[in-house]
Amino acid sequence: MYQQPNESGHFGQFGGRFVPETLMPAVLELEAAYNEVKDDPDFLKTFHYYLADYVGRETPLYYAERLTEKLGGAKIYLKREDLNHTGAHKINNALGQALLTKHMGKKKVVAETGAGQHGVATATACALLGLDCVVFMGAEDIKRQKLNVFRMELLGAKVEAVHHGSATLKDAVNEALRYWVSHVEDTHYIIGSVVGPHPFPQIVRDFQSMIGRETKQQFKEKTGTLPDALIACIGGGSNAMGMFYPFVDDTSVKMYGVEAGGHGVETGKHAATLTGGSVGVLHGTMTYLLQDGDGQITEADSISAGLDYPGIGPEHAHLKDINRVEYVSATDKDALFGLKLLSETEGIIPALESAHAIGYLPELAQSMGKDQSIVVCLSGRGDKDVETVKAVLGGQNHE
């Protein structure tokens, strides 16, 4: 049976907790607190109550018939995380960690955000549970995702712009970590993906793994079997981990993680960490990274703010090493194609992040038989991206 991480928070050679000593006690406290609640019926009951009555779970598993026909290969099912309250899977983890914050007796929360989806989800969970919330966001991302910034502010959160470096997600994580070091005594850091020091990758995976558990159950009800393949986009890797984790031991199920290929992995302008990166240590964890010959982290590049990250969750690095998941990439162009394809065939505008998984779908579906099935984790909806997409596609559509 697959059982990761080990006691010291490592997934094979990856993971761990590379944080300043000032944070170590908080990281250990978090681990202890999480171990207290993770199998506690009262905690889980509260979590599931909010997931059902507030988030709107479970999310549907939808058979995309027109998309299947259009691609002419394997049957395609969509796990509709886009239908969650706040529009993406991010709320699952934000809510779980906000409840954990309360359990630890802390009243303040700091978070980072890229696309703004995790920031909005965290601001929402904090409003719901009466917690103070500060969100760090790269100045570049603030420009790309204005609407989400305003949403966070409406929800009562304070949004801090980060101007350092590439002014995107990586820099927002740096600032959130620095803020946490300085406020660790009364503040919890709600990290937004399966990244960061142990126990974060485990906590976020667990708080997202209802995606895969529901999928397994729903697929079984519909077909009596398991799907042949799962596919999900990967920024830090939380929607993918949530989908994959309950299937890791089901070896007949192939799994595909789609990273952001930006302008193409061969151009060097991309965010495909596993495809184009090498092993190193960033943001508290050992994993694959985009870095130069001197171990300096390089800038990621993607049309999608939520995938624009030069690292990846350590468990994905491990799943790559043991060949359990195949990691591939979709370029900005592929994602835009995917976004249009799903909008036109199914009437669902996906988030640009999720559109990367759709963008890779033709290749995958057509390589499989018509009697086979693929489940796509549709991690979020595209409302937040309409402006970005309009800037790129707008002209063409009116020609």
Partner: protein
């Protein structure tokens, strides 16, 4: 200089009745051409050792001043290799060098190759702020082979049991972090700092140095009274950047009898 020479030197200074003063500078800030000159200047001013920062793109333990110095250093083309090469040009200097950098540049260079290069360029030890004791073994196994010191950091948030363990493990000196936060100048410290330093001194087998936030002569004197000396970072970095050599002299002077 070897780990033993570092320890002997610290002992001599303390036996004279002076306190230890370790200035932090960023390698490559102002260009690598000035590095050896700056080290010599600090040695002449009476610094006990140099904490030499190797720039890293994502320094989460550092505040604004050192972040900016790192960005300047990287922009001027500083690499790990060039820093080693520069240090080698003046290997016979009479002051210990301790490299401070994050885990990734060390890992990427190769832990073994990094340790070898430290020895070849006269470096006595390492400070790695994102390497807590839980993760240190891969590094210490190698450093011990090369007789290099790993200086452990202890924090205000460390519970007593961790403080004790860090006190036991550290080599060269114990780096007592005096703020719950990142590096950068502070006007004041929490009231707990004096007791914290006094507690760390009890049973310590190495000197205990207070660092993070220390930026005035008065703070140097005040903190050093409760331990064996201080590390001063942001204020020194700023002084070099602004050409205020007198400030540096005065800060170091404040650690003397």
């Amino acid at each position: 200089m070897s780990k033993q020479q570092l320890e002997t030197r610290f002992k001599q200074i303390l036996d004279q009745g002076d306190k230890l003063f370790v200035p932090y500078i960023m390698a490559g800030d102002g260009g690598l051409d000035v590095l050896n000159e700056r080290i010599d200047f600090l040695a002449d001013c009476g610094a006990s050792a140099i904490e030499l920062g190797l720039p890293f793109s994502d320094p989460v333990a550092d505040g604004e001043t050192i972040q900016q110095a790192g960005i300047r250093a990287l922009k001027s083309g500083t690499t790990v290799q060039r820093v080693f090469d520069t240090l080698k040009q003046s290997k016979d200097r009479n002051i210990p060098i301790i490299l401070m950098t994050y885990m990734n540049p060390v890992y990427h260079y190769g832990i073994d190759a990094f340790a070898k290069a430290c020895v070849a360029s006269g470096v006595s030890g390492l400070i790695v702020p994102d390497l807590p004791m839980e993760e240190e073994q891969a590094v210490t196994d190698v450093l011990h082979q090369y007789d290099l010191a790993l200086i452990r950091l202890v924090a205000l948030t460390s519970p007593v049991a961790r403080q004790k363990e860090l006190k036991k493990r550290t080599e060269g000196f114990l780096y007592a972090v005096t703020v719950t936060g990142t590096t950068g100048e502070r006007q004041t410290f929490t009231d707990r700092v004096h007791q914290y330093l006094a507690d760390l001194k009890v049973g310590a087998t190495t000197p205990v140095l207070a660092g993070f936030g220390v930026s005035s002569e008065e703070q140097v004197k005040n903190l050093a009274r409760h331990c064996d000396g201080v590390v001063v970072g942001s204020r020194i970095v700023k002084a070099f950047h602004d050409g205020e050599k007198d400030v540096i002299k005065a800060l170091i002077e404040a650690s003397k009898q």
